[in-house]
Amino acid sequence: MKIDIESRPSYGMAVVTMNDGDSLVAESGAMVAMSSELDVRTGFNGTGKGGFLGWLQAAVTALLRRVLAGESMFVNTFSASADGQQVMLAPEMVGDVEKVRLDKDRVITVQATSYLASGKQVVVDLVWGGFQMLFSGEGAFFLKCSGKGPLLINAYGAIEKVEVEGAYVVDTGHLVAFEGDLTWRLKKVGGWKSTLLSGEGLVMEFKGDGTLWLQTRNLKSLVSWLIPQLPK
């Protein structure tokens, strides 16, 4: 599977060229264009063990993901039946797309709305960010991506890659993804006065060594700028 990202960084789109037998799972609505021979299957954004109970488990997982993480309830699986078949994928939001490769030593946690697509062997689990994330102003859930294969993430604005060594602080609204070796906690920037008046709110402090991906714009800020501009 070969993945090229075009129209960077403002309107990134992934052009995926597959080999016979390759399979890619993408968020519903992400398909821009594709070879007509590609096989498409729509299923719940969750997995079950087979049988009716398995189906129910998948349905409940998908529903939880929709409600809790704002993810799409359904995903599409694109499978190639010959070399060279293509699918092009883009998010709804403006901004860049980045590809990351996972293997058994590399687990990546993605902010839920930044997930675009992943290889068939990649396992995507919904993880609870902890009670503290309820106060972050962002979603309290993340997607933990493990296994082997490509992962596509998207951002509002450009994507900035940061190699963390020791500790690093990120605004919650700018986080896209981080490597599994990093741990984090939510904290105030400065004292309570700063927290309330600085306009920075709460931040995430990362510790350890690993890669972090940030987005150069913040959807919450855009929305809070836009609302006062709208006519009454």
Binding site: E6, S7, S10, Y11, G12, M13, V15, E27, S28, G29, A30, M31, V32, A33, M34, S35, S36, E37, L38, D39, V40, R41, T42, S72, M73, F74, N76, M88, A90, E92, M93, V94, L219, V223, L226, I227, L230, K232
Partner: protein
């Protein structure tokens, strides 16, 4: 006349360079700046269409989601330039038409040279459900045609068979046959993919010809932003 594109791909503008006496037709409201001797005439029809012919053309354009009147800028007496920008951010592509026909998704048309004839074309009733331009514009003749995208533009040389989400089509050559289809229907109609796949209707292209797609979808972006905004008060 030649059309140059600058500030691509994020915030592209088109600069049309005209010889003395040449004119350019543009989408209403697209003009950004121009030499002061460029003269604007606003009419429903083209040169020599007459009142009734003009009226019909204007009405057809309106049905296509374009404006009733068309703006024509003439470089009177001397060469000059004029710049045009689309409403949304994104890229612009220029296609030199000499033979054949170019079909343009109606909101993607930006401007064209004098030798280009524009006509509204019915995209088929089903494309209505695709949420995008029920009607496409048909450009024929000789000269440059500029069209804009929301996001980047990708030119795809289609040979054989290709599927595009209806919200991502910008323009295509008439040599391509197309029909609107439900998503995931390669092995017959697939109810689940159609309703739950989040793609709705797609356009199935066949044959060989060039196709231009946009890397973002206005409807998808609008929905995403709309969910964050307070409800509209009437």
């Amino acid at each position: 006349m030649h059309i140059e594109v600058q500030h691509a791909p994020a915030y592209a503008i088109a600069i049309a360079h005209l010889d003395a006496g040449e004119s350019v037709v543009a989408e209403g409201g697209a003009m950004v700046s121009m030499d002061s001797h460029m003269k604007l005439s606003t009419s429903a029809g083209g040169e020599g269409d007459g009142v009734l012919g003009g009226l019909m053309k204007g009405l057809k354009r309106m049905v296509a989601g374009e404006s009733f009147f068309q703006n024509r800028f003439v470089a009177e007496g001397a060469a000059g330039h004029i710049t045009f920008a689309p409403t949304l951010q994104g890229d612009i592509a220029v296609h030199e038409l000499s033979q054949g026909t170019l079909i343009i998704q109606s909101s993607s048309f930006l401007c064209s040279g004098t030798g280009i004839e524009l006509d509204a074309r019915w995209g088929g009733a089903r494309s209505f459900f695709g949420g995008e331009g029920l009607i496409m514009l048909k450009a024929t003749g000789t000269g440059p045609v500029a069209f804009n995208s929301f996001g980047g533009i990708k030119e795809i040389p289609v040979v054989g068979d290709f599927v595009v989400d209806t919200g991502h089509i910008v323009a295509f050559e008439d040599s391509l046959e197309f029909n609107i289809d439900s998503f995931g229907s390669s092995g017959g109609f697939n109810l689940k993919s159609f309703f739950l796949g989040g793609e709705g209707l797609v356009c199935h292209f066949k044959g060989s010809g060039r196709l231009w797609i946009q890397t973002r979808n206005t409807q998808g972006f609008g929905t995403l932003l709309g969910r964050q905004l307070p409800p509209r008060q009437s």
